[in-house]
Symmetry: C2
Subunit: 344 residues, 2 copies
């Protein structure tokens, strides 16, 4: 007799297997399996018997056994930098709502902007033999790339389009968007345009946005002045602090481009608190077109990113990759829109 204490609850409890279903339906296990999966190989009448038996027993197949046998897990691993930012939540939401009806389950991981964590997550995803990966951005650890290579996991990158990308990518050019916004601000007549960007480290979106800002300035024969830029975590309060710092160090600034609506909104609130009128005293532009930017008055000028469409397209490409289809573009640029509103 075994020890009673400290034994997992599920100890001796027997679960329903497909054999039980088959027995009840009066067929062999494999026929039951076929009836539940690829019913066209089975007489409709048989299929109904099996389905009835499965329903009666409340049978739920063991997907571990299934994927061990047929070598696909029906799992897609998704990695985003963080769940706290609603822009990624939107993308995940649209990926999963496309994948679930096709019978796939999404594993979601957030790397918290850390390459090592991403690598660990990829390792777990591979241990589950994910059929495909969807990663945010195109910067990954060397080992992560090697693992993806060795285990031959079809991989899609989302949220940025750039030459660096080694994988299929779906998104928009963050560089181009920042370039155009900056150009717009210049054309609007602002004369000293500051920049508050998100953390640059291991973040290609941040890096490309920054570069877009720089290149736009230089294209218009302005010089890039690091003193007019700040790096800020993606939090309201930090955006406010960065704004304050810019304003105090350089009074003559008349416009600030923030590389994220969160930062921009924090900055806007900072202005509001100090009774600095936007855009009269200073103009402000954001990036991402999140809900927050639209509700304040003045409404935030920003860049609209097709985050749902990115998710949808990424999901569709993922399905194609899994199914071995080959009509896939390596770069899927879904574009962006300048949303000119009241803060500029």
């Amino acid at each position: 007799m075994k020890s009673e204490a400290n034994v997992p609850l599920k100890s001796d409890h027997k679960l329903i297997t497909i054999r039980d279903v088959a027995r009840l339906a009066g067929v062999s296990p494999i026929t039951a399996s076929r009836a539940l999966n690829k019913s066209h190989l089975v007489k409709p009448e048989t299929r109904q018997k099996v389905e009835a038996a499965a329903a009666e027993l409340k049978f739920i197949g063991n997907s571990a056994a299934g994927s061990l046998s047929n070598k696909r897990s029906n799992i897609v691993g998704i990695i985003v930098p963080t769940l706290s930012n609603s822009i990624f939540a939107d993308t995940i939401q649209s990926i999963t709502s496309r994948l679930m009806p096709e019978g796939f389950q999404a594993l979601i991981g957030s790397n918290e902007y850390c390459l090592q964590r991403e690598e660990d997550i990829i390792r777990t995803f591979i241990s589950h033999r994910a059929d495909a990966l969807i990663l945010t951005g195109n910067i990954h650890s060397k080992v992560a790339e090697e693992l993806i290579e060795q285990y031959r996991i079809p991989t899609v990158e989302i949220w940025n389009i750039s030459e660096r990308s080694k994988h299929i990518s779906v998104g928009m050019s963050n560089y181009q968007a920042a370039f155009e916004m900056t150009s717009f601000l210049i054309s609007r007549g602002y004369e000293k345009i500051g920049y508050i960007g998100g953390p640059l480290e291991n973040n290609d979106r941040s890096q490309d946005r920054m570069q877009g800002y720089r290149d736009a300035l230089e294209k218009h024969d302005w010089s890039f002045d690091p003193a007019l830029t700040r790096e800020s975590p993606l939090e309201f309060a930090s955006g406010g602090a960065a704004m304050q710092s810019l304003l105090s160090k350089s009074q003559s600034i008349d416009c600030v481009f923030a590389s994220s609506d969160i930062i921009a909104f924090g900055a806007l609130m900072e202005c509001h608190r100090n009774e600095i009128k936007v855009p009269r005293d200073i103009a402000l532009a954001g990036f991402d077109n999140t809900a927050i930017g639209a509700i304040f008055s003045p409404a935030l000028t920003t860049i609209s990113v097709p985050r749902q469409r990115i998710g949808l397209k990424a999901a569709e490409i993922t399905l194609k990759l899994i199914r071995g289809e080959t009509d896939i573009n390596r770069r899927n640029d879904l574009g962006f829109d300048l949303k000119i509103r009241e803060t500029t």
Copy 2:
């Protein structure tokens, strides 16, 4: 010969198995397995050989095979209503950061406030033989409850504590919190307190908050007036619209309690747009204590919910359940705080 086209990429590619590792290390597969999992059963020297072999081959075990064999999946299923609301993102984040180091992988699903979807998600979680479930709230479909029962999945409910709960729960009393906030507003001297709540359907938090508001009124011998209440989706704009509706229909209102910071902030912005001074013209209180409430001036009075601690505690209880430990409280009330700030 088989058809060439339309065959999944991974077709004939052989993956590393534990047998390969064992061969390279010069031991049997089972010893390799032990070395990688429960190293205390293996001579340190042997373990090192195996680890070296595994590293050399970049071996990543197949967790489907593992869980099929030893009957635990090391998967915990988490269901939240939505990913778009950062409060749930925070909870998920703290759950996963506690579970991952213990070797568990979280499966995350969002039911979009729909019981049927939740049931479907639970079904997939069970198909992966999740070791435990963490569900938000205590309203689930009948079938969902039956499945949890039949498959004996240890289940923890988060975010609300109430008598209704059939499972172990971790959170705070939404009823109590709303009751106290309303009582506070009454004690503050407001005379006509409106209420904007989130959708009530299938949402025990919303229902309990509403009831807390009602009961607090009645305890102070006020009558509950449905004309002073609105139901609003959890979006800034809807909160604003509900506020507008309240203001236009009932000018004499001097305070509004919104059952979520998102709604409250939308309402606050509505006031801002219409140059209604808060709290001079009207007071406003929210619920959840999200970052957004703190950045505007006036800062939002709200209820602070220990969302990280909820996640952490839920994760810890989940681990205990999985390990068959029995020193577990059925109700884990982590409390709340009234955050009195400037809008009241």
